[in-house]
């Protein structure tokens, strides 16, 4: 026997208030939100944040530090000198690598900005922004394989999958814009370790990254298959059906939340294509990113899209340059770096400059990283390429509470090891969370009988680069 239960409560009041309209007004959605247990509801950080959102630029394959932002005169001077093998993970028991020799950079460096940061000819445009950037020249990481190091850079785990940093940030802060996912990944190719890079793992599924691929359907299922007037007819019928069901059954916040989700989804169909439609952007803006009008691919497209997503309150935006192939992994020839740098240098400059001129850089943290660096040696001094190198690499941060014009930490004289203030990926993560007002030791999730953290049991905030 089904009993009819009716409680004239707030829910019913709200429902009847909106019964006449096709779509619930956003306000009511917000009011219902608190009851629905929305995992993406905005949440307060642990302390006052310097940044509200992150644009995480990930150059895949291993960008050489000594050819970009970590100039090593001693390496240039000692070119061709044989050094001891030591226990470098990439050359143990590797045929042809019985002896190794130092290898100089082939690019000139130039001083930029007030701070005089030395930047190689690979990144002349980024060079123009150095006064807004804090470089970390003493990065190091735990694994010299792409897959493991990429997983580590994203999840803090170098072996098994764990939630991505973007998922952690979404979990910690929720979202500012319900018409867009809180964590979006702009990637034309799949990265090393695949979807684990943006996975939510044991965190609620709502925090997983939504991958955006340039094209007619940037977000899955976003393009309507019926004209809008017909879709409204369907949604109205659906709402009527759901309302009737809601009133005849026992109160269930999940059901109301799902009704709200349809309204949001309807809005997303407009909001998402609008983000990726650059028509309203001026020619000057296009030029800033090195983007041709109408062009809907390339890193300039990714960067401009990132600014538009940032403006609309997306919490964590990752831009992956290349993917698991055709990337910065220049074993064969370092000249590949030149080709790839040309694809990203101008767009990154454009992004930082554009964010700054719009006042967005103050609360948007731009992160530039790769999974590891490249060896300052090879088995022949005239070998054209460089190998994987997890002992040292460079990353940088800009905006969102970061000091500009500084370089933190240093490698030894030949760029082999991070020696001065070494910064591990765990420390890097702790610093990013800190800028967002999150204490990496308090941002935890109980799972499998214990609390888990992005930084595992490690991590120190790099206070020196905080503004």
């Amino acid at each position: 026997m089904n009993t009819f239960r009716y409680n004239p409560n707030r829910r019913h009041f709200l429902r009847s208030m909106t019964a006449g309209s096709v779509l619930m007004p956003a306000l009511v959605s917000e009011m219902l939100g608190a009851e629905g247990g929305d995992p993406l509801a905005p949440r307060r950080p642990h302390f006052s944040p310097r940044a509200k959102r992150v644009i995480f630029i990930n150059l895949s394959g291993g960008v050489s530090h000594i050819d970009t932002f970590d100039r090593k005169p001693e390496l240039i001077a000692s070119h061709g000198k044989e050094i001891a093998k030591g226990d470098h993970p990439e050359i143990q028991n590797r045929p042809g690598y019985e002896r190794i020799f130092l290898k100089r950079t082939q690019w000139d460096f130039k001083k930029y900005g007030q701070c005089g940061k030395e930047v190689s000819a690979l990144f002349p445009e980024v060079g123009r922004c150095v006064d807004d950037i804090a470089f970390i020249n003493s990065m190091h990481t735990s694994h010299s394989n792409h897959y493991n190091a990429t997983l580590g850079m994203h999840t803090g785990s170098f072996t098994v999958s764990r939630p991505s940093i973007g998922a952690w940030v979404s979990y910690g802060l929720g979202t500012e814009n319900r018409n867009l996912p809180s964590f979006m990944v702009l990637a034309s190719q799949s990265p090393y370790a695949g979807g684990q890079v943006w996975g939510s793992d044991f965190l609620p599924g709502a925090h997983q990254g939504t991958r955006v691929q340039p094209g007619p359907m940037p977000v899955p299922n976003i393009a309507p298959r019926v004209p809008r007037n017909l879709q409204e007819l369907e949604l109205a019928a659906l709402r009527k059906r759901n309302q009737r069901h809601l009133q005849t059954g026992p109160a269930n916040p999940e059901l109301a939340a799902r009704m709200r989700a349809f309204e949001t989804a309807f809005g997303m169909q407009m909001a998402v294509p609008e983000v990726f439609d650059f028509k309203a952007e001026t020619d000057a803006t296009h030029a800033l990113y090195g983007l041709k009008r109408g062009q809907a691919n390339g890193f300039g497209w990714q960067c401009l899209a990132a600014r538009r997503l940032a403006e609309r309150g997306v919490r964590f935006i990752e831009l992956i340059h290349t993917g698991s192939a055709g990337n910065w992994d220049s074993h064969g020839n370092m000249m590949d770096h030149e080709r790839l740098a040309k694809q990203v240098d101008r767009p990154i400059y454009g992004l930082i400059t554009d964010l700054k001129s719009r006042g967005l850089l103050d609360d948007t943290l731009v992160v530039w990283t790769t999974e590891f660096g490249r060896t300052p040696f090879n088995n022949k001094a005239d070998a054209p390429g460089r190998e994987h190198h997890n002992w040292a690499f460079t990353t940088f941060l800009a905006g969102g509470g970061v000091k500009g014009g500084v370089t933190h930490g240093a490698t030894d004289e030949i760029g082999l090891k991070a020696v001065d203030h070494p910064v591990h990926t765990h420390d890097f993560h702790a610093t990013i969370l800190h800028l967002l007002g999150l204490d990496h030791e308090r941002l935890t999730h109980f799972h499998d009988g214990r609390d888990f953290r992005l930084t595992d049991v490690e991590g120190h905030v790099v206070k020196e680069i905080l503004a």
Binding site: N145, V226, R258, R450
Partner: protein
């Protein structure tokens, strides 16, 4: 009443426990169902426990759910599919007489359905983090993983007692070796069962090097799946909360370090090794011996036939190579025809051959032939077209209408005495076109259009006509071998059949000698030979695919080993050696045989171990009610949640053991309770199971239901996936695929480094770590799926089409409600539907309107939630 049966049942296990404080580690205490005050409601032991707790809090249970609600609830619960309209109607009818008996019958029917194992097997596959790929840097596909998946599904369907299920998964290979009598099917099943261990996640560039991580994953899953313990916490140090020491951890570690895992290959170490043959080596040797004998037999057959063919062909060639008498000849220019006629004296067995040859150009030499022969007394007649047209492929030589099997033959006339040996059933895929051609070659050929209409092929070929086409380098011929001696008159026609090129030449010859035997044999023999060669090839291929499982086996005796504790979990920092052993918590016995897996299986799968029965009883309860009595199904340790109804949990665990670990019996115990059959509700009573909690369909249920409604669900049980044969994957170019089929979702290919969009969106299980309970989300991107997903639109349109067989609009609406929601539409809903369909049809068209209305139905909360 079954409660009575356990009333005096005594628990006698004498178990030493490391901790006597934490509830989960104490022996099962089989309580009698408590007495309650409410009259009428309780039906089973389950109800007594639930009611006692409700009463203690002054709460009342909800009434019983409606029959329609109930059958939809239980059908999804046990099979993951909606009930059919007939099942709903039958149940409602039967329930009028005796609702309890009717419901019990439904439960029995569902438990007996193969669909049951597909649903409940999937629950177990969640727990064991099943995947079809290895998960190391290139996520190698694992060809044989499916065998374990199907084993699990079959085990649930067969109601394999749960203790046996545990033993098989941990040590099936050892049981297969030591058991007295094991049939081949059983052997294969036991080997396959250890896929439980083999499907552990692989890591790194060289997965052999990183095997320690695979062992860690094994121990983690072992603890969670069977014991509800987070043993992995003891990898780096003694467990902070539970009585599990690092020594316990490395005691188990040694057991798995003494076990050989099937290896899927990886970028740094490619060869696939250690797959386990499904049959024992002895049987294998016998199989190989039998295989070799058969191969020898087939090889001998082929050789003998080859010899015979050669001899027969030689006889025909020899006879045909003698001088001939030319009767007539000519050239047929394009778009023309030439007739011929003659009267000839023949001996029985002599051959008349009509030969068509190319000229300078052979490309458009399709030629129509007509040829009639009559005896002088006009008693016997032959007609090439009429004799062969409707059954050209019946033979070459081809019989006439008088029963002479050798009468007509079709020849490769490039050499004397060679028959066209290969039949073509549909030339260029045109069914009416049949032909004989030379083996392996496209031309020459003799062909008919047996149909009643012209065939548009390379040119228009008129109906009911016989054709030949010479080769580039020589002619084709049709021959008549005379069954009679005496005068025969011939007439016929050679006609250009393709108006391009330069026409053909032709001649008619008489060949002396008796061809009747010489032409009769070769083609049949050639066909026999082809069949024998194909059989030999198929047989040879069989050996290449010795069936194997992705499973484990015991290490060689000299490789069985204890391991040193890893300090801080780092294998590079060995500490003290630890003997292979059971957890102290469960007795701490050391291993005395082999790797110790069989003993471990026995230590786990025993009624003396209170965790095992509690953990599985809780899982079963959880899937029926949406939450466990212990809400942390993988963690019964001190960091997990305590049970809301400890006595009930122990009673269920005890019942499970009493019913010989039968999961199906446990289902009945739970499903036949008033608690399970309660109406959905809200408030404090609902939290204590006084009312049912509605649940959302899982990703699999959603997809399977959509396929069911559109009539496209394929209920066959598939095997493996169409993985690429080559395994040149790398971390730069890992394996990635998203195979589609219309089988049930449990059979979709599961990958470790990328998730299926549907599974990611609707909270499917994590293929990398044990999922005790799926965490269901409710987000706008799911609503987008219902609005715009292509698969959903296709299935909704299919559902609409399936409704079209109903006679009226209202009947369609009613049927859709019954199928999707398990109930008819109300008057108000009927009116709404009519209104919607009219408005939508006016704005679009009727087909689109029905598809749209079906989407509305499928988008509704009532559809997606089971009450």
């Amino acid at each position: 009443m079954r409660v009575g049966a356990v009333f005096f049942w005594m628990y006698t296990a004498a178990l030493t426990l490391a901790s006597d404080q934490h509830w989960a580690f104490t022996p099962l205490s089989p309580p009698a169902p408590p007495s309650v005050q409410t009259v009428g409601w309780p039906q089973t032991g389950v109800d007594a426990f639930i009611l006692a707790k409700l009463e203690s809090q002054k709460l009342k249970p909800a009434g019983q759910a409606s029959q329609r609600t109930l059958i939809r609830r239980v059908t999804y619960d046990l099979t993951g599919l909606p009930p059919t309209a007939k099942e709903v109607a039958d149940f409602e009818k039967a329930a009028l007489r005796d609702p309890d008996a009717a419901f019990a019958k439904v439960v029995d029917r569902l438990l007996a359905s193969p669909r049951y194992g597909e649903r409940w097997g999937r629950h177990w596959l969640d727990v064991v983090r099943y995947a079809d790929t290895a998960g190391e840097n290139c996520d190698m596909p694992v060809d044989d993983a499916w065998r374990y998946r199907n084993y699990v599904i079959n085990a649930f369907n067969k109601d394999v007692p749960f203790d046996r299920f545990i033993r098989e998964q941990l040590a099936g290979d050892i049981i297969a070796k030591t058991a007295a009598k094991v049939s081949p099917a059983r052997h294969s099943e036991l080997i396959t069962a250890t896929g439980y261990l083999a499907i552990a996640r692989r890591h790194g560039h060289d997965a052999q090097m990183d095997h320690y991580l695979t062992i860690e994953d094994t121990i983690d899953t072992l603890g969670k799946s069977f014991l509800g313990l987070t043993i992995a916490c003891a990898r780096c140090h003694d467990h902070k909360y539970d009585p599990i020491s690092a020594k316990d951890y490395y005691g188990l570690y040694g057991i798995f370090a003494s076990t050989r895992y099937a290896y899927p290959g990886s970028e740094g170490n490619r060869p696939i090794t250690d797959l386990v043959p499904l049959q024992p080596l002895g049987a294998l040797a016998k199989q190989v011996e039998a295989w070799k004998m058969r191969r020898a037999e087939l090889t001998a057959q082929v050789a003998a036939l080859k010899q015979e063919v050669a001899a027969q062909s030689a006889a025909f060639t020899k006879l045909a190579s003698q001088p001939r008498t030319e009767l007539a000849k000519g050239i047929v220019p394009i778009k023309t025809e030439q007739a011929f006629a003659a009267t000839v004296e023949v001996q029985a067995g002599e051959m008349l051959q009509l030969t068509i040859g190319p000229r300078a150009n052979y490309g458009a030499d399709t030629t129509i032939l007509e040829w009639q022969i009559t005896t002088a007394d006009s008693k016997l007649k032959w007609d090439l077209t009429a004799d062969t047209l409707d059954h050209l492929l019946a033979g070459n030589p081809h019989a006439d209408r008088h029963g002479n099997a050798f009468a007509w033959s079709f020849l490769d006339a490039r050499k004397p005495g060679v028959l066209l040996t290969s039949p073509v059933a549909a030339v260029d895929n045109h069914k009416p076109l049949q032909a004989w051609k030379a083996a392996g070659a496209g031309l020459p050929q003799a062909m008919v259009n047996s149909g009643n209409t012209p065939v548009q092929a390379w040119t228009s070929l008129p109906p009911r006509t016989f054709y030949v086409h010479p080769a580039a380098d020589g002619p084709v011929a049709v021959a008549w071998t005379s069954p009679v001696t005496g005068k025969v008159s011939l007439k016929g026609k050679v006609k250009d059949g393709h108006p391009f090129g330069d026409g053909v030449d032709w001649k008619l010859e008489q060949l002396k000698g008796d061809f009747r035997k010489a032409i009769h044999q070769p083609v049949q023999l050639t066909q026999k030979l082809a069949a024998a060669e194909a059989a030999l090839q198929a047989h040879a291929a069989k050996e290449m695919k010795m069936p194997t499982a992705y499973a484990v086996s015991e290490e060689m005796p000299d490789k069985l080993k204890n391991v040193a504790l890893h300090k801080r979990g780092d294998p590079k920092q060995p500490g003290e050696m630890v003997p292979r052993k059971n957890l102290d918590l469960l007795g701490g016995q050391t291993v005395s045989q082999g790797s110790g897996r069989l003993q471990l299986a026995q230590w786990i799968a025993t009624e003396k171990n209170p965790l095992t029965a509690r953990v599985i009883a809780n899982r079963v309860w959880m899937h029926h009610f949406g939450r466990g009595l212990v809400s942390t199904p993988n963690d019964f340790g001190t960091q997990g949640q305590p049970p809301t109804h400890p006595a009930l949990l122990d009673w269920l665990a005890t019942e499970l053991i009493r019913q010989k670990w039968s999961i199906k019996a446990l289902h009945r115990t739970i499903l036949l309770s008033a608690t399970y059959q309660a109406a959905a509700g809200e408030g404090p009573a609902q939290k204590l199971y006084g009312a049912f909690t509605p649940r959302r369909l899982s990703a699999e249920e959603l997809r399977d239901t959509l396929l069911t409604l559109s009539g496209s669900l394929d209920l066959a049980m598939p095997e493996g996936h169409p993985f690429p044969k080559g395994r040149g994957f790398s971390q730069h170019n890992p394996f990635r695929a998203n195979y589609k089929h219309t089988h049930r979702s449990v059979y979709l290919m599961v990958q470790r480094i990328q998730r299926r969009p549907l599974m990611a969106l609707f909270d499917g299980a994590d293929p990398n770590a044990s999922t005790g309970q799926r965490r269901l989300s409710n987000v706008p991107t799911q609503a987008l799926y219902f609005l715009n997903n292509e698969f959903l639109h296709t299935q909704a349109a299919g559902f609409a089409t399936a409704l079209a067989t109903e006679p009226s609009r209202d009947a369609r609406i009613q049927r859709a409600h019954t199928r999707a929601l398990g109930r008819p539409a109300t008057d108000a809903e009927l009116a709404d539907a009519r209104e919607f369909l009219t408005a939508y049809t006016a704005a679009a068209d009727e087909t689109k309107a029905w598809a749209a209305w079906c989407r509305v139905l499928l988008g509704s909360n009532e559809f997606l939630y089971v009450e």
